[in-house]
């Protein structure tokens, strides 16, 4: 029996999402792991949807990873956030869009703290002014980039070149959506659909022809956990969380996973590689892993972007089986050709892509 998601309550959790003129704050880690995603977001917003977005080189990391690893104190991160808002104010924007769930959680938390404890906002303004001479206005709207994508999902659906449908069978693709803890578990009201039945990714999946599966460990954390992962000796329980999710979703035979958060997308993808190399277990079809997409990549494929231009050759789990299901044409020979056709190197073969490993090696050596 196939369990597709039934949601009733999502429409009770709505938020204001600006329609245009966004100030874009990038993620620290996404450009390494899913390098085409942020560019795709900018291209889709500007090119396909004709919206104005400022990609400001002057903004910085939100320091969220440091904050959640107990390295950056609260006062410091509040001041860094204040500086981001100052950059937005100086550029003449007021709709802040964050490309990272951790950052989104940080901005939400800082704004809520300032609201509850106005003296902390006053102090932050003072610190920022002393340190940089800058002042700021708080954003009129704060959204995660997936909120914006969700906002335009019907417009994207109208322009779709491909749908989330298996072209051979005509069946909707089965999708596991993972929204990330800091999107709505801290402030359920700040996420579309709340935290138990979030709708931000599910809404896109459904508008674009796919269907979401509800599996027992759907709400479970991917296991990133910041300091839990950063210390090598602790990674055993970081990977155990992804392992638990993968074990739980595998019987539903999902066609792909779409993740909201930079960390989740990375871990759900890369831990599949690690689990396969350690234990030989894979969770997808034909002994392969389950492809993991960001929502920008998913939108990009729907809109007909070239998968290699979207950076999908950088995934640990090969995406070709998914591309074939969706009927997307791609040049296999161009996979490892980067910008200007330059060869970017090719990863060693891996168990997760149904290949025997090339060599026996100990990563500690």
């Amino acid at each position: 029996m196939m369990a597709t998601m039934k949601r009733k309550s999502w429409s009770e959790y709505q938020k204001q999402i600006a329609d245009d003129r966004y100030y874009y704050a990038r993620s620290c880690i996404r450009q390494n792991f899913f390098p085409g995603s942020e560019k795709a977001f900018i291209d889709i917003l500007r090119g396909d949807l004709g919206r104005d977005l400022l990609d400001d080189p002057k903004h910085s990391s939100c320091t969220g990873i440091g904050y959640h690893s107990d390295i950056v104190p609260l006062e410091t991160i509040m001041t860094v956030v204040a500086r981001q808002f100052a950059m937005m104010t100086e550029a003449g924007y007021e709709n802040f869009v964050s490309s990272c769930i951790t950052s989104f959680g940080v901005y939400t938390e800082v704004l809520a703290t300032w609201h509850e404890f106005p003296e902390t906002e006053e102090r932050t303004r003072e610190y920022l002014f002393k340190a940089t001479g800058r002042e700021f206005r708080k954003p009129a709207s704060l959204a995660h980039t997936s909120d914006v994508m969700f906002h335009f999902r019907e417009e994207i659906a109208r322009k779709a070149r491909h749908r989330l449908v298996n072209v051979q069978t005509g069946e909707p693709l089965r999708v596991v959506e993972h929204i990330g803890c800091h999107y709505a578990k801290i402030f359920p009201k700040s996420g579309i659909g709340g935290c138990e039945f979030p709708y931000v990714l599910a809404g896109m999946v459904e508008s674009w022809g796919g269907e979401c599966v509800d599996y027992p460990e759907r709400r479970h954390c991917c296991g990133f956990g910041f300091r839990n992962y950063l210390v090598q000796a602790n990674r055993g329980y970081s990977i155990a969380n992804s392992h638990k999710k993968l074990e739980s979703m595998a019987p539903y035979k999902p066609d792909f996973i779409v993740a909201n958060c930079p960390g989740c997308a990375m871990f759900l993808d890369k831990w599949q590689y690690a689990i396969a190399e350690m234990e030989g277990t894979t969770y997808g079809e034909n002994g392969r892993g389950i492809p993991v997409l960001t929502y920008e990549e998913m939108a990009g494929l729907v809109l007909g972007y070239d998968p290699w231009a979207l950076g999908m050759q950088m995934h640990q789990v090969d995406v070709e089986p998914l591309l074939d299901k969706m009927g997307i044409e791609y040049d296999p020979a161009a996979k490892y050709l980067g910008r200007n056709g330059k060869y970017i190197g090719k990863p060693a073969s891996a168990v997760v892509n149904a290949c025997p490993p090339d060599a026996i090696y100990d990563i500690r050596e």
């Binding site: 039934k6 509800d214 027992p216």
Partner: protein, 336 residues
């Protein structure tokens, strides 16, 4: 005594109060919002701790009300009231000399606890659903098959700040014990688990019933609150809790998850209280004038409280209180 008392609410409390008023020579009128009297008792199968059919109690109350020719206005909602006048939803005004407020409680809406998936997952039920199924004589999983493992969760919508219900609804614990025993009788081969935070056996015979459920019926009691429920691929429900007495997380899939829903204050308590000059407790129930020496009286002279309008209670307490409220009203009428 040629006096008229309007009893708002025709459940167990309202009917008993009206009967007592009539006995004392006062003319009561029951005003009931629903199409018939009986209130929540109508949906209950048998009552703890004696397994007495709710229909026996309700039938007897109704019989007496009819036999004594007590005026009953059904399908009649009350918009506002004072001790001398009750205004109905349709704008009609009924004059009176005193009012007994017996509007009862509202069952907690289990779908507000989103993490349990009530209304979304097929095999998640409330205690009220189970009573209805027992009344109809057919308890089964959504697909009609017999459950092999059942979990009952206590305190759904009680003792929970997250849904603004900080009070204890009192009767859910014993309801959980009672339903666990009924389910075990129906499905002797099934394992039945009760997940609780505290077991509060406040009434006569309750603790004995709890022990019987444990020892004679082999019902498992796990001290820990289920934190979430999720569907499994075969249509069951996976639950997670801590087994706090062993200090370890615990998970299992069950065929049926029963949520023991609490009693909450009616939504219209606020408006009714404001119009009549009554005070509400932080829980939203109507506060009695004095918890010891005036617990069926309200802050307003001539308005009396009977049953669960003032706090969660069982049927026995409700009936006693209705008698006390009627007596207090009669005393008041004699003085005025």
């Amino acid at each position: 005594m040629n006096k008229r008392v309007i009893v708002i609410g025709g459940g167990a409390a309202g009917m008993q109060a009206a009967l007592r008023l009539k006995e004392s020579g006062v003319e009561p009128t029951i005003v009931e919002r629903e199409a018939e009297t009986g209130g929540k008792l109508r949906d209950w199968y048998v009552l703890f701790p004696s397994f007495t059919p709710a229909a026996d109690v309700l039938g007897e109350l109704r019989r007496r009300v009819a036999e004594r020719h007590i005026e009953v206005m059904t399908s009649t909602g009350v918009k506002s009231f004072t001790s001398r006048e009750v205004t109905l939803d349709d704008g009609r005004r009924l004059a009176c000399d005193a009012v007994v407020l017996a509007t009862g409680f509202t069952l907690f809406d289990a779908s507000l606890k989103e993490e349990y998936g009530y209304g979304l997952y097929d095999n998640v039920f409330t205690s009220a659903d189970i009573e209805r199924m027992l009344s109809r004589g057919r308890v089964a999983k959504a697909d009609g098959s017999r459950p092999r493992r059942i979990a009952l969760l206590h305190c759904v919508g009680s003792r929970d700040e997250k849904v603004c219900q900080q009070h204890c609804s009192r009767v859910c614990c014993i309801t959980g014990v009672k339903q666990a025993m009924e389910l075990k009788k129906l499905f002797p081969e099934a394992d039945v688990f009760n997940f609780y935070m505290d077991i509060r056996m406040f009434g006569p015979g309750y603790e004995e019933m709890y022990r019987e459920a444990q020892q004679k019926y082999n019902i498992h009691f796990v001290r820990g609150r289920i934190s979430e429920a999720s569907p499994t691929i075969d249509g069951r429900v996976q639950i997670k809790a801590e087994d706090t007495l062993t200090g370890r997380p615990l998970r299992m899939s069950v065929d049926m998850l029963v949520l023991l829903v609490g009693m909450r204050a009616n939504d219209d308590n606020a408006a009714l209280a404001e119009g009549a000059g009554l005070r509400r407790a932080p829980s939203g129930f109507i506060a009695p004038r004095n918890l010891f020496l005036g617990n069926v009286e309200s802050d307003a002279a001539g308005i009396f409280l009977a049953g669960t309008v003032s706090a969660p209670k069982n049927i026995g307490e409700t009936l006693n209180e209705a008698t006390a409220a009627a007596d207090a009203a009669v005393e008041y009428l004699k003085r005025s």
